[in-house]
């Protein structure tokens, strides 16, 4: 070819020049573990389901969520959301309202009748679940999805455990609970009500079960010795709350005193108020800071007119219902000490809310079992000392929440599944944590948290209507989009855009990105400018 004046070579492309050879560090895409996921006792992939909710695909979001937790509508109401306390967005403005979006998804699923996909295979194995509380239901769900035949033996007349006979309706409407229980049963799980297991080994043998998961909860109310006259009305929290599910509601009178400082004490006092008590007073021996109840619940109770007497113990109760209360003082170690100062308090009834013990009678005579501090000991695989018998929820060492119970159920199911096949379940290794420092928060738009509506005070004091309202489709979408997607690529295209060397290859929607190491010089801009910290720079020859 004829070349222009003073030109001897054809024009070539700089693609011949492999500048990737300059590199001493190389970028690597890798998902990190979002702190919310890490904090969820049920092991939910929160960032993962929020990702789908962000694009308005609520059904897919619900499906990802329910891979770990079958009861989002319940969880979205009663979970104490430790995920939100760890949410990175909390360091920016306020944490993402994970729990409220979860509730929205759960409610949406009920409204639109979404069902779980039936198990793909049948293992032919039979597993007995004892107790239809959250932990037992969760285990049943996961076992059923893994193809096992599950039967639940439940002592009570209805499923739900403490979700039905503990947590009051104004926090968890029963139709919500029933819908989510039914959906689990629809997977082919057999529920036998009014079937108390007296002896686990006998029940297993009789039913020909290959393994068992125990989740009987903790139902025996702890008592404190309080001398009381014969006519005095002394009850425990479990009696009161369980009684709320009967036709005849408990008769507590106008002046109700509740003794204890946990969430249960608050639930009882708030229930008493709704039953018509003019005075509902909680007596607790320590201070508000030391109270095991959650702050938001204390706040809601105070709003409803519950009175709380801090640093007080009850000495005795007379026939006429006069309580003698002693004022306490915290000592240097923060422990309450008596002061010898007394006062009196008039009460129509006194309800003890001092915690619960586990009824372990079904385990009598089972060899190899280890019980410590009133709870059954289990290994990291949730198995008791007796091979084939697993346990979880309130009856094993735990924080005693619905979420922990559900997490135990899932973990146990996976281990039971492996055990039934003669294998050992090994969980996938955890990714490195996506800490706040790994994010480039410049890129996120400012957005304050959506406030959930609450019922007006008058109705809160007089009815059992649900106190906290849900989000609607618009603000649920907004809330989901507040998620920073910590540690996990959300396809913002930043890396693709900011590379001065065009060394990032975009693979198309949903397929993420790749590096072109022929030309990547290892400058690290893509890593520095990834909003969510999904790109790490690693030494080239490592």
């Amino acid at each position: 070819m004829e070349k222009p004046f003073a030109i001897t070579l054809d024009v070539g492309s700089s693609l011949a020049n492999k500048t990737g050879s300059w590199r001493t560090y190389r970028p690597r895409y890798g998902d990190r573990l979002p702190p919310c996921n890490n904090a969820c006792p049920a092991g939910e992939n929160i960032q993962g389901w929020l990702y789908h909710a962000e694009s308005g695909d609520y059904e897919q979001a619900w499906r990802v969520l329910t891979q770990d937790n079958p009861m989002p509508a319940v969880m979205g109401r009663v979970c104490y959301h430790p995920c939100e306390s760890k949410c990175n967005r909390g360091e920016l403005d306020q944490s993402v309202g994970i729990n409220s979006v979860e509730r929205f998804l759960g409610d949406q699923a009920i409204k639109l009748g979404w069902k779980f996909a039936p198990p793909a295979t049948a293992s032919g194995k039979r597993v007995l679940v004892v107790g239809a509380g959250p932990s037992g239901l969760s285990a049943a769900y996961h076992l059923a999805r893994l193809g096992h035949q599950v039967t639940i033996h439940e002592a009570g007349p209805l499923a739900g455990g403490m979700m039905r006979f503990g947590i009051p309706k104004y926090r968890l409407p029963r139709d919500v609970l029933e819908a989510e229980v039914q959906r689990i049963l629809d997977l082919g799980v057999t529920l036998e009500l009014n079937t108390k297991v007296e002896n686990i080994e006998a029940s297993m043998q009789a039913g020909g079960f290959d393994a068992a998961f125990l989740a009987v909860g903790a139902h025996i109310a702890k008592r404190a010795y309080i001398p009381a006259g014969g006519a005095a009305k002394l009850l425990d929290a479990m009696q009161v709350l369980r009684g709320m599910e009967d036709e005849e509601k408990p008769m507590l009178g106008r002046r109700v005193v509740v003794y204890g400082g946990g969430n249960t004490a608050l639930d009882v006092a708030r229930t008493a108020k709704r039953l018509g008590a003019t005075d509902a007073i909680i007596v607790y021996r320590r201070t508000r800071e030391k109270m095991p109840a959650h702050d938001f619940e204390v706040e809601e109770a105070l709003q409803e007119g519950i009175l709380i007497k801090w640093l007080s113990t009850i000495k005795n109760m007379s026939d006429e219902g006069t309580l003698t209360v002693e004022r306490m003082e915290l000592d240097a170690t923060g422990f309450p000490q008596p002061t010898g100062e007394f006062e009196t308090l008039e009460a129509d009834s006194l309800v003890l809310a001092l915690g619960q013990d586990v009824d372990l009678s079904l385990l009598n005579g089972v060899p190899g079992l280890e019980v410590e501090g009133g709870v059954v000991q289990v290994g990291p695989n949730m198995m008791t000392g007796r091979p084939g018998i697993f346990a979880g929820g309130d009856m094993v060492p735990s924080e005693r929440t619905v979420t922990v119970g559900i997490g135990h159920g899932k973990k146990a199911a996976r281990n039971i599944d492996a055990w039934l096949r003669g294998e050992v379940y090994t969980p996938a290794p955890k990714h490195e944590l996506a800490t706040f420092e790994k994010l480039n928060t410049w890129y996120y738009e400012d957005a304050p948290k959506t406030v959930q509506p609450t019922l007006d005070l008058i109705r809160r004091q007089s009815s059992f209507d649900e106190v906290v309202g849900g989000l609607n489709e618009t603000n649920a979408l907004f809330e989901a989009r507040r998620c920073l997607s910590c540690g996990n690529c959300f396809e913002c295209d930043n890396c693709y855009g900011v590379c001065p060397d065009n060394a990032v290859i975009k693979l198309g929607p949903g397929m993420r990105f790749e590096f072109n190491f022929d030309y990547c010089k290892g400058c690290g801009i893509c890593s520095a400018e990834c909003p969510c910290g999904a790109i790490t720079m690693v030494p080239e020859n490592a």
Binding site: E445, R481, Y496, P500, D501, N502, P509, C523, G524, A528
Partner: protein, 337 residues
């Protein structure tokens, strides 16, 4: 700001793309079909802001004119690292002029196209700050004054980088360069010299003048798009950090640019026919130290002793920019208290 501001989609318009946005609302750089006008294999340093700014600008210009674009390029890093004979990274018709005459070469191309009746083909001239504010200034002023139909883009890395970091009339006060060493009673470049080419361009009352910055891609692209809608002389001044000359980490190029804007050091503005029409507000105002500290060219301001006087002088210049161009929203300022 010219860029459409999308209030909330998780990241709004701060990111390059965003899977939640309609493709029409994403940047040109998010598009898998972008020109990549400056292709891989160029020999710019790791993390070069100029390479990045040039691709941002030219890809946007290409999209705006249906790929009917010719570029003239002054001598400087952008030319040297992109086109070592016989290879080139440019995927557009591109000509290397001399160091000082790019504006004139572009004027000539525009004139030729006019003669040929090819009004759909557009012309861009581009060069570094040295080629623009110093040696090419006469040609550029002429191009402005005659209102030639050329978009001139200056990539300002605040010194003559290609030849080893010599001072230009865009080098800021106190900056150490090869010719303004950090020695003596007033180390680094002297204060009170140099010039602002955007303001000089505005004084020519040409149809369009804008400043842009590599950390604000959406704004940069919108400005190029706006410029391409207009005929006549147009000028865009893009602030491009240089890891080599400034002594910054290669991964900090965009972060440093962002700080230049957030401190008020570099005002991001827009003007038509000599009148200021828009400014890009500071989002989270920061003290100038945050901008200066990560740069080795300013290291002498912090050690062995902190040169509070020089830092105060730089802060005063930033404050002046903020005042002069209204870079801080009253509401944002109140929030920052």
């Amino acid at each position: 700001m010219t860029a459409t501001v999308i209030k909330f989609y998780q990241t709004g318009t701060h990111t390059v793309g965003n899977r939640l946005l309609d493709p029409s609302q994403r940047s040109v750089q998010a598009d898998m079909r972008r020109t990549n006008s400056l292709n891989s294999g160029h020999r710019a340093c790791q993390g070069c802001g100029e390479a990045l700014g040039a691709r941002y600008a030219i890809d946007a210009a290409m999209q705006a004119c249906d790929n009917q674009l010719i570029a003239a390029n002054a001598t400087g890093c952008l030319e040297v690292f992109s086109t070592p004979y016989p290879e080139t990274s440019w995927q557009i018709p591109w000509i290397h002029s001399l160091f000082g005459n790019t504006a004139a070469v572009a004027t000539g191309i525009a004139a030729a196209l006019r003669v040929k009746g090819r009004s759909e083909v557009r012309v861009v001239a581009q060069g570094g700050d040295g080629g623009t504010t110093d040696i090419g200034f006469g040609c550029l002023s002429g191009m402005f004054e005659r209102n030639d139909d050329v978009l001139y883009i200056c990539y300002d890395n605040e010194a003559y980088m290609n030849t080893g970091v010599q001072r230009s009339s865009a080098t800021p006060g106190a900056a150490r360069t090869a010719t303004t060493p950090a020695v003596g009673p007033a180390p680094g470049n002297v204060f009170g010299q140099g010039k602002s080419l955007p303001l000089i361009a505005m004084a020519h009352e040409i149809p369009y003048v804008a400043t842009a910055i590599v950390s604000e891609l959406r704004d940069l692209e919108a400005k190029v798009r706006r410029a391409m809608e207009i005929r006549g002389a147009r000028y865009i001044h893009v602030f491009v950090p240089c890891p080599l000359g400034w002594g910054t980490r290669s991964d900090q190029t965009i972060a440093i640019a962002r700080l230049a804007k957030e401190t008020g050091i570099f005002p991001v503005i827009e003007a038509e026919h000599g009148e200021l029409t828009a400014v890009s507000k500071i989002r989270k105002q920061r003290p100038v130290e945050d901008y200066l500290k990560p740069q080795r060219r300013f290291a002498h301001l912090f050690s062995p002793a902190v040169n509070t006087a020089a830092i105060a002088q730089i802060q005063a210049l930033a404050d002046r920019n903020i005042r002069r161009f209204g870079l801080v929203d009253a509401a944002a300022a109140a929030g920052a208290e």
